[in-house]
């Protein structure tokens, strides 16, 4: 029924879900910075937690855990793996 899997931002993704980053919708500077920390198109990621009330998102990428503010997390688009 659903041919193209819907994209979800890291912010909206549910805690505990895994997926693959397909797009970073930001300016070049931020995209570069995220990329060098391992947050780049093609990376597999697992959302570890999202803090309420405007708090940051924690995501696992390979052996690394990165915490990023929600403004940044909103710009990272993920294709969720099937649960």
């Amino acid at each position: 029924m659903n041919p193209a899997p819907p994209l979800v931002s890291l912010l909206d993704m549910k805690t505990g879900r895994a997926g693959r980053i397909v797009e970073v919708r930001s300016g070049r500077g931020l995209a570069r910075r995220l990329e060098t920390m391992g947050l780049r198109t093609g990376s597999r990621c697992v959302k570890i937690s999202g803090m309420p009330l405007g708090g940051p998102v924690v995501v696992q990428l390979g052996g690394t855990r990165i915490a990023l503010g929600r403004g940044m997390a909103r710009k990272v688009m993920v294709e969720e793996a099937k649960a």
Binding site: T15, G29, R32, R33, L34, T36, M37, G38, R40, G42, I48, S49, M51, P52, L53, G54, G55, P56, V58, L61, G62, G63, T64, R65, I66, A67, L68, G69, R70, G71, M72
Partner: protein, 589 residues
Amino acid sequence: MKKPETAARRIVLMGNPNVGKSMIFHRLTGVKVIVSNYPGTSIDYTRGYLKLPSDFTSGGRAAFRRDERIEVIDAPGVYSLEPGSPAEEVAVRLARDADLIVNVVDATNLERNLYLTLQLLELKLPMVVALNLWDETGHVGVAIDPECLARGLGSAVVPTVGVTGEGIRALVDSFAEAAPGRPVTEDPEGRWQAIGRIVGRCQTLSHHHHTFLQRLSDLSVQPLSGLLIAGGVLAGAFAVVRGVGEAIIGHLAEPLFENVLAPLFYRVSSLLGPGTLIHSILIGRLIEGEIDFEQSFGLLTTGLFVPLAMVLPYIFSFYLVLSFLEDFGYLPRLAVLLDNLMHRLGLHGYAIIPNLLGLGCSVPAILATRILESRRQRFIAATLISVAVPCAALQAMIFGLVGARGWQYVGVIYLTLFVVWLGLGLILQLTVPGYSPELIIEIPHYRFPPLKPLARKVRMRVAGFLREAVPIILVGVGVINLLYWLELFDRVADLFAPALTAVLGLPRESLVPILVGFLRKDVAVGMLAPLGLSAKQLVVATTVLAMFFPCIATFAVILRELGWKDLLKSIAVMVAAAILVGGALNLIL
């Protein structure tokens, strides 16, 4: 750039933040540096020297000789060579000037780390790779073939464990094989593909069960369990700091002064004769014919008792706990939990680290504000630290003097400072121009800190207090006694006393301690002891002292880090806040 022949040749340690560069640096040079388990511990570079062993085999492009003395530089951690922050620009400049680059790589996190490695190879300088944290690869289900990696990168690769020193000798020997870097790929966009190929060949991942520490790691960044853990950690930390501090004072420091030193001082006292200038400087006033270590205020009595018996035990216990939390890797989790709160104060979560360091001493705390990206954040953090975060020396004196009147009064002081910290942060967030970026940090693995490096760090910090604070305290007490003798203080006191009494409800004698707060806060609180203040006056005076003005060391570091303009702004905020809050406390209590 060619350096003069006489200058020592230079090795630069480069790597991502928190991969253990500083520990490798310490192993190579013997220079003691503060090492912690969070990104950004080394905000500046450190230099030291390595003497190559006499059986070192010369060779390689760097062509170091046996017994050669080589300069080693520990560069700040960076994720890439594209200049972004000031720390990165420093690191890039250092890298270009190196005769040999030692690229320290986190073996548990190979793919991400190799991005910088590829960029470093593109500098075409002699380079070797230290595959650090080698002992942890097993725990996280990673197996790496170092020879395969060496072939892929065209550079020597040596597994190392900085904390134990394993592999350090092999690393030094590998300097002889250091070949100039060859770019793995000419196309900058192709770096990640190249890394993917190398990692695919040289690294195998095995499934591994989550260890206890990994589960704890997950729980400590979840909203609910995280807050519970944070509450537990902070309560536990406070209990240990207080328990250990009190135990040392009660069982070691006070008995030493009462039983061993006091008889000695009585002999000095009768030798000098009470009332002479030299007696009042060395021994101070006798209280009902006796030496009172808290009140006599002589150089030998209170001058030694305050730093060694009242403050030092808490300095030790505080840094013991803080160093453990740093090395365990807890602090970045706290940054995640408190990010939301810190944004309301114009900061972000990572600013909790300088603020916590401020509970020890404002000087390293304000230096640590360099981990914050914008100038606005640094100004807000430095101001909050100097106004509302009491240093360990001040807290020790609050425990000692105010605690003796009842712990509820200590509670009032802490609560007041916390409210000021929050309130002032909210105001600064609304009024200070500039921008505050969002949090983005790497969260390190939890590690049980190995004891030796932990002990070394505590020792360094305690030694720092003895070396830097104790002389100021002694000189301060001496000068104060001289000024009292000359009755100079009275004239100053007469000038400001009416305002002091009217607004803060304090007697005129308490003006001098408040002024002495500029020198050392612990001495200043100590000077309140003989004044016979009521508990309420003591609370007001101590709170005002804590907030009023930075001590001279803090003053100097704010000036150096932020410049005159921000220093003056910051001080204006402090003075205004201290008078307002002190006045309010006087009315409410």
